[in-house]
Every structure is written in C-alpha cells, then in structure tokens.
Symmetry: C2
Subunit: 121 residues, 2 copies
C-alpha cells in the first residue's frame, strides 16, 4: 500500500486552507485523543477481538490497574470511539466494542503502521 499523498500534494492542501494554521489544526485534537499510556492498546485489542469484557481487557493489558483501565475506557467512550454495553445480570457483565467512529480510525492506524514498519527497526 502506497502513501496516499506526497509531501508536495500535502503542501498544496495546506495552501487551500483545509489544514488551517496554528491552533486550529485538525490533527492535534486527534493525537491528543489517542494520548495516554493505554488508549491505543485498548483500541488495538478491540480491533483484534470484539466485544471484550472489563476483565478480559485487564488481562490483555497486564499490568494495567483498575483505575487506569476505568478512566481510559471512560474517556474513549466520551470521545465516541468505543461503546459500553452493560448487562444487568448477576454477576454483572459489561462489554466494550469499537463504534463506527472508532473503526474509521483504523485506516489511519494502518498508515502509521506502514510508516513505522519502514522506519522503525
């Protein structure tokens, strides 16, 4: 898979204003959304297997703590990237999966992965 755009094409786009300058760049908030020690890994695991329960995620992401997993999941849900489904059974069960918005992020990840495979030994 080829990069979808050259540097020169990108520069042209910048000229058109689709990427606006200084403080209003649409890239920054996306990267911020993915910051945090665990978020990417959570999305990655949900991409491999979905849905996943709290305890399953915890095992996969060992040595993550309860607190960290809870807050990361909450933030990802607030950003609309994952869906939380609660089943009122005994014992309680909660399932997490990617939303469409979250799935649409995957081509981006793939582009990043391609770059990573080229440049990271």
């Amino acid at each position: 898979m080829k990069p979808s755009m050259t540097y020169e094409e990108f520069q042209e786009k910048v000229g058109t204003g689709i990427l606006t300058q200084n403080g209003n760049c649409p890239v920054t908030p996306v990267v911020q959304m993915l910051q945090g020690k665990w978020k990417l890994q959570i999305i990655y695991e949900l991409c491999i297997q979905s849905p996943l329960r709290f305890g399953q995620l915890k095992k996969l992401l060992t040595p993550i703590t309860n607190t960290m997993l809870t807050t990361a999941l909450k933030e990802l849900e607030a950003d609309g990237l994952i869906r939380r489904e609660q089943f009122n059974e005994i014992p309680p069960r909660v399932e997490y999966s990617l939303t469409e918005k979250g799935k649409d992020l995957l081509p981006v990840f793939y582009a990043i992965a391609q770059w990573g495979l080229t440049y990271i030994p």
Copy 2:
C-alpha cells in the same frame, strides 16, 4: 480522498501478522514520538515553511519557552524527523528543516486530518 482501507481489510492484515499483537504494535512508538505539547506544531510549521531558525520557531509557537523548544527540537532530531544545521557565524545561526523521514509522515497527518474533519465539529 478515501480512507485507504476498511475495517475488514485491516482485520485481515492483523491476521497476517503484519500488525503484531500486544506490546509489539508499530503504531504505538509512532504516536509516542509525536506526543508532547509542541512536537506536532513544530512539524506543522516546518511543513508550511522550511527551513526555520530557532527564533522564528519561537515566535510562531508563542508562548513556548526556550527549554521546551530546545528539548522538543532535540527529541525530534534524535528521532530523525528534523535536521539541525548549525552555521558558525557571528551571531550564530541554526536552521531546522524536515528530513525525508519527517516528510513521509505527512500523508499520515493528512489521513488523520481527514478523520478529524469528519468527526470533530
């Protein structure tokens, strides 16, 4: 510009092992490389105009401090994304520009920007 890959295609790739599981994902180190309050903005400015001198960057990124700019530039240089050229003149002059490796990141940024423009109001 369409996303270069669907969720299903991505999942297939995962199956092939090109994206390896748990702790060896090639996406994570890339996102980590771009973390930090200023790095993305520095790359962005260098994409708009290049080369740029330390003082020019500082003005563009106001209110960044010397320390922050220095460390961010150092890390970006260590990661091979930008090039630092020092001219031993009086007064001294240093110029920063993107490397090929850095430029190759731009299609990724564009993909992210597309997602951002779709999903961020």
